[in-house]
């Protein structure tokens, strides 16, 4: 908080500094969030296009009302203005005026962002208190600080800024990411509430306030007639999109409820704009000069404003979609097109004084489908995050400034009668209006809106910044009671956002309103829902009802036959939506798999459905990500250096501990990095163990079937990935390599052990291990085969210790027999291997290994051997992902090229795959003992020879290796 106020002081001071000479400033001071500097005379203020841009000329800025005192001489900063007046050669002063505008904007953004961080420090707090409340409170505090600092309110929510910059960011985000289907499914209700409901609220509030005034409930000082009250009623009655988004986002009511309230808040803009303008003109013309024709003009104006706004939006949507058809070569500016055109839709509507919100919303809804299909995945992500960031920051600023604006003596003209009656009226009429309209709507709705829904809808009718900006825009010369209206609006906004915003969550909980689930549809649901749509359309046709489904189907036909053809790229047009959905699900699976367990391998076993995703390209990015996250391979590197020199058992133990810890880190880091929620360590560990147990269980139980199914899947996948297949063939090697690479690090700790068991191990081997410079291609082939069992052994060590107390840490885990083998493979190997893209193959191998459990005596030697390669590889690994990729690329070149002849030959005979698979499996099981044997023998052989033996001798073992890659 201190920091914030400090920042504020600085900016305020800066304001004051510039006051002296900004009067003739060439900079457009209105751009900034802050109001015009205190020293600015009203003359400058009039120069400023400010709110006049919004089509309300002649409305003076509220903040210029108070004639400023001589700027801040009392403050500690008084020295600054002093210097400021000094002259041109004082660089600091000059620079300030130069950077002032962007500087202040940036500072405010910073304040807002830091505020967000602070609020989210305490999770329990943020779940109870909506962010918008906190932001307003912060704004109040900051406002007070500013007030104390500069003796007057310098900052306030400037309508021009609000309507031209802040609101569009929020509306743009809302429109673009509007769930179109849901929106149109409920369009009737939304329109009803937006138009009829807003009109009802506006008129009733206006008339009733006038009635109260007549009855003497409102003080005489409030100099307002019927028209003034109607005007006030119009601006105060509209539900505010900003507030609704801010509050409902945290409440998570079911989608239907949300879309109705949210849609209403967006679509009522047309009504608000028209009513506001009509009344303003009436007020300005004077009550006597309003003729009947003017009312009809008002209605016509409403039609033009709303339909025109929608049309402008749709036109821009078509333009935007069409433009993105041709951005293939300039992917980098795809997001820019979207922002520009959506924003232009807003500005154009504003230009013709149509409903800008409506325009932007429909532009977003209209273009979304086509644009999303046209632009690249990266652009999609960029658009999403940029929009969300902008909207979030705009929202933050709006609420902070609402708070700040409230602290302004000049604007407060309090009248209890007006405030209280306004509050009562808006609440009552909202509730009555909702109830009445819902009763009417339920005659036509398939799913009637329940009583509970109505309560939430009435209670969720939040007023917000739009109302405030509109009331600030009022011209005091015509609307005499403006100050009272401003104060009342502030109170209403604060009441709805803070009190209702705070209580709506408990209310929703108490009423047991069905909540929204954040669940994404499964492929089954996607398919069946589509089928349901077709069924319902058909049934409507058969029953002779031209109902909703009938028309939706008509629209879809039209869209498919004409619109999509025009607006979608050819390459995209031929893709089916369902197919897209399928791929999305696959990608999501892959991501969530990595997010949860941090390892693709495990869950590949756990959940078969995600298998198909293996091949999709986003996988790769995930894996890369994972690789980066798993950078703790670096630790392993360090371990190597530590352990190799000292070959004592104690050190082994220590290493083991260190290693165990270090090996666990990746996942832990990973989790905390990705999860938004804090998790206690205990939970994490429990989860780890659970994952491990499930993994093992599944592995053992579903081994055969899994393999078969996966295989089948892979096959089909591969087929349709025709073009990808080649690419994959070539990329096999690196991939496999990576896996090897990854296993090896685990091997490293083994080094000391081999010293004990196998002192005869040649020194030069050790040297290789220690120097670990050797990342050369020729060397690696030797190492790789050896590391197979070594990896196995090694896997055991880290795993056994941390999660399972059964494996005492007193003993080196790898000295255990085969009994402890499986666990090690499952957890550790998995953890490390995920980088491998052919998990399928790897799994089968590793599980086979675990099942067949190589003979004990081999261990030391094998590990000793591995040491040869281990350090080398770790070093490569330690160099981070890039290093791994590069090193591995060359590593396996020779063996894999030999192996990959198999798959190409086998591609044709996929039908027999099943039987072959099983053969392979059995062969593998039985022949898994041989490989280690050969290894022990081959250890002293020429590595190349040994390597070949590995490739050729157990052909059954080699086969799955070769098959997998191509099939994936």
């Amino acid at each position: 908080m201190r920091g914030l106020s400090l920042l504020l002081f600085i900016t305020v001071a800066g304001e004051a500094t510039t006051d002296l000479f900004v009067t003739v400033a060439s900079l457009p001071p209105e751009l900034e969030v802050s109001a015009a500097p205190a020293g600015t005379s009203p003359v400058t203020a009039r120069h400023i296009p400010g709110p006049g841009e919004y089509g309300h000329p002649g409305i003076a800025l509220a903040r210029s009302e108070e004639e400023p005192a001589v700027p801040s001489t009392e403050d500690g900063e008084s020295s600054h203005p002093h210097g400021g007046g000094g002259g041109g050669y004082e660089i600091v002063q000059w620079e300030w005026s130069y950077v002032k505008t962007p500087y202040i904007i940036a500072s405010w953004l910073l304040v807002a962002s830091v505020a967000k961080i602070l609020f989210h420090c305490s999770q329990r707090f943020t779940t109870a208190v909506p962010e918008s409340c906190m932001l307003i409170l912060l704004g109040l505090v900051l406002g007070a600080v500013v007030l104390i600092a500069s003796k007057k309110q310098t900052y306030q929510l400037d309508p021009g800024l609000f309507f031209l910059f802040l609101l569009p960011t929020i509306v743009g985000d809302a429109g673009y990411f509007m769930p179109a289907r849901l929106f149109f499914d409920n369009l009737g209700a939304i329109l009803m509430y937006a138009v009829v409901g807003t009109l009802w609220n506006a008129f009733c509030t206006g008339f009733c306030l006038y009635g109260v005034k007549m009855a003497g409930g409102i003080d005489e000082k409030v100099n307002a007639g019927l028209m003034d009250f109607l005007l006030f009623g119009a601006l105060i009655s509209a539900v505010d999109p900003v507030a609704v988004i801010a509050v409902f986002e945290e409440v998570h009511v079911n989608e239907t409820l949300f879309i109705i309230v949210f849609g209403e808040s967006l679509l009522n803009d047309a009504v608000t704009v028209v009513l506001y303008k009509v009344y303003i003109s009436f007020v300005e013309a004077g009550p006597g000069n309003v003729y009947t024709a003017d009312y009809f003009k008002g209605i016509a104006s409403f039609l033009i404003v709303s339909i025109g706004g929608t049309l402008v939006g749709l036109i821009f949507a078509v333009i935007l979609a069409f433009v993105t058809r041709f951005t293939k070569t300039v992917r980098i500016i795809e997001p820019l097109f979207i922002f520009l055109l959506v924003y232009l839709a807003y500005l154009t509507a504003e230009l013709f004084s149509l409903s800008a919100i409506l325009s932007m919303t429909f532009c977003g809804i209209g273009c979304n489908k086509y644009v999303e299909a046209n632009i690249s995945q990266k652009s999609r992500t960029t658009v999403k995050y940029t929009m969300k960031t902008l909207a979030s920051i705009a929202e933050t600023i709006i609420f902070i400034f609402l708070g700040i604006s409230a602290v302004d003596k000049s604007k407060w003209a309090w009248d209890t009668g007006l405030v209280v009656s306004t509050l009562i009226f808006i609440l009552v009429f909202r509730a009555v209006g909702v109830a009445g309209q819902t009763w009417f709507l339920n005659w036509f709705r398939l799913v009637p809106l329940e009583k509970i829904d109505q309560v939430v809808m009435s209670y969720g009718g939040l007023r917000g910044a739009v109302a405030f900006a509109l009331v600030v825009l009022l011209d005091k010369e015509h609307v005499k009671a403006k100050d009272y209206f401003v104060a009342t609006t502030i109170v209403v906004v604060f009441f709805t956002v803070m009190f209702q915003g705070l209580t709506i969550k408990p209310l929703v909980k108490w009423l047991k309103v069905p909540r929204s689930t954040n669940r994404k549809p499964t492929i089954n649901e996607e398919i069946h829902e589509r089928a349901f749509d077709h069924i319902l359309t058909a049934v409507e046709d058969i029953a002779g009802l031209n109902g909703y489904h009938h028309w939706r189907d008509k629209w879809e036909q039209f869209d498919k036959n004409y619109l999509s053809k025009l607006l979608l790229r050819k390459s995209v047009y031929h893709k089916s939506e369902l197919w897209e959905a399928y791929q999305k699900i696959n990608i999501r699976d892959a991501i969530s798999v990595i997010d949860q367990g941090g390892n693709v391998l495990t869950s590949a076993r756990l959940s078969l459905p995600s298998m198909a995703s293996r091949t999709s390209f986003p996988e790769f990015t995930n894996v890369t990500n994972y690789l980066r996250e798993n950078g703790s391979g670096v630790c392993l590197d360090l371990q190597v250096i530590d352990t190799v020199p000292g070959a004592k058992i104690e050190e082994e133990l220590e290493t083991h501990h260190v290693l165990a810890e270090n090996l666990y880190k990746p996942r832990r880091q990973y989790q905390s990095h990705y999860s938004r929620h804090f998790m206690t360590v205990g939970e994490k560990e429990r989860q780890d163990r659970e994952v491990f147990q499930r993994n093992m269980h599944n592995r053992l139980e579903s081994f055969k079937s899994t393999r078969y199914k996966r295989h089948k899947k892979d096959r089909s996948q591969k087929k349709h990935k025709g073009s990808d297949a080649k690419e994959q063939d070539t990329s096999d090697k690196p991939r496999r390599n990576v896996s090897w690479q990854d296993r090896d690090p685990v091997v490293v700790p083994m080094a000391p052990e081999e010293d004990i068991h196998d002192p005869s191990e040649p020194d030069k081997d050790e040297d290789v291990g220690i120097t670990f410079v050797a990342r050369k291609a020729p060397e690696t082939p030797k190492e790789r085969p050896k590391s197979v069992p070594a990896a196995l052994d090694a896997c055991q060590s880290p795993v056994a210790a941390p999660p399972s107390p059964t494996c005492g840490e007193k003993n080196l885990p790898w000295k255990y027999g085969m009994g402890s083998l499986p666990p090690c493979v499952s957890v550790e190997a998995n953890k490390i291997i995920p980088i491998d893209l052919q998990q399928a193959w790897n799994q089968s191998i590793s599980s086979l290994e675990s099942l067949a459990s190589p003979p004990e005596p081999q261990h030391p030697r094998v590990s000793a051997l591995s040491r040869l390669g281990g350090p080398v590889r770790t070093s490569a690994n330690g160099k981070s992902g890039g290093g791994v990729g590069a090193g591995s690329g060359s590593n396996i070149g020779s063996p894999s090229s030999g192996q990959f002849k198999f798959p190409t030959a086998k591609e044709e005979e996929e039908e027999g795959a099943l039987s072959q698979q099983q053969q392979e499996l059995q062969a593998l099981m039985s022949s898994l003992t041989p490989p280690p044997a050969t290894q022990s023998a081959g250890k002293r052989r020429n590595p190349c020879v040994y390597l070949r033996s590995l490739v050729t001798v157990p052909p059954s073992g080699g086969e799955p290796q070769s098959r997998r890659p191509t099939q994936l």
């Binding site: 492929i523 058969i542 002779g544 198909a612």
Partner: protein
């Protein structure tokens, strides 16, 4: 009301029908009109050709399956009773209607809606959606936009996802489970005009 009653009287067993389907008299009359309109030759029953004459239905990718659902196996015709009963599957679930114990499950219950959808997939009526059956539906719905391989992978995945007993087919129970989270009442209902 007189005309309503006279129309109703012409329909045999109208009371029972209304009881079973939950349609109001207005609904029944409306559907009866529609039935007569479809039944161009006035035979009192509908043939597949009559359905084929609905031209919107011809564009529906799974239209023929839905037509097929109207015809119980071995039968070539649909009378008004069956016609109404099948359409009754899509009546919205009425929540306020008192639930009588021992009363038979209404036609528009959730599981009946699901079963209707299920049998559209399960063309050989063996109680399971096999991979081939699923593929056929997918092919119909996705049209020519997708390659056969893509279709297969979608089908494979769909089955794997829903298939709990690993028999490479989706039984009704599995079908129901896979759609557990979906609000079938809303998705499989249309609003019949009053």
């Amino acid at each position: 009301m007189g005309s309503t009653n006279s129309t109703l009287l012409k329909i045999p067993n109208v009371e029972v029908l209304m009881q079973e389907t939950g349609f109001s008299p207005a609904h029944i009359i409306r559907l009866h009109d529609r039935f007569k309109a479809l039944d161009k030759e006035g035979r009192g029953h509908l043939c597949p050709q009559d359905f084929g004459a609905i031209k919107e239905l011809a564009m529906n990718p799974i239209g023929d399956r839905i037509i097929g659902a109207f015809f119980s196996p071995g039968k070539e015709t649909v009378d008004f009773d069956t016609f109404v009963k099948i359409l009754a599957h899509f009546r919205p679930v009425d929540k306020d209607r008192p639930k009588e114990l021992n009363s038979p499950e209404p036609i528009n219950s959730r599981s009946n809606k699901l079963r209707f959808a299920f049998q559209l997939y399960d063309q050989d009526k063996d109680g399971k959606i096999s991979r081939d059956e699923l593929l056929q539906v997918l092919r119909a719905m996705l049209g020519m936009q997708v390659t056969e391989e893509q279709l297969e992978s979608v089908a494979d995945r769909t089955i794997q996802e829903a298939d709990l007993d690993r028999d490479d087919a989706i039984s009704f129970e599995e079908f129901r489970k896979s759609l557990e989270k979906i609000n079938i009442d809303n998705l499989m209902s249309i609003r019949f005009l009053r």
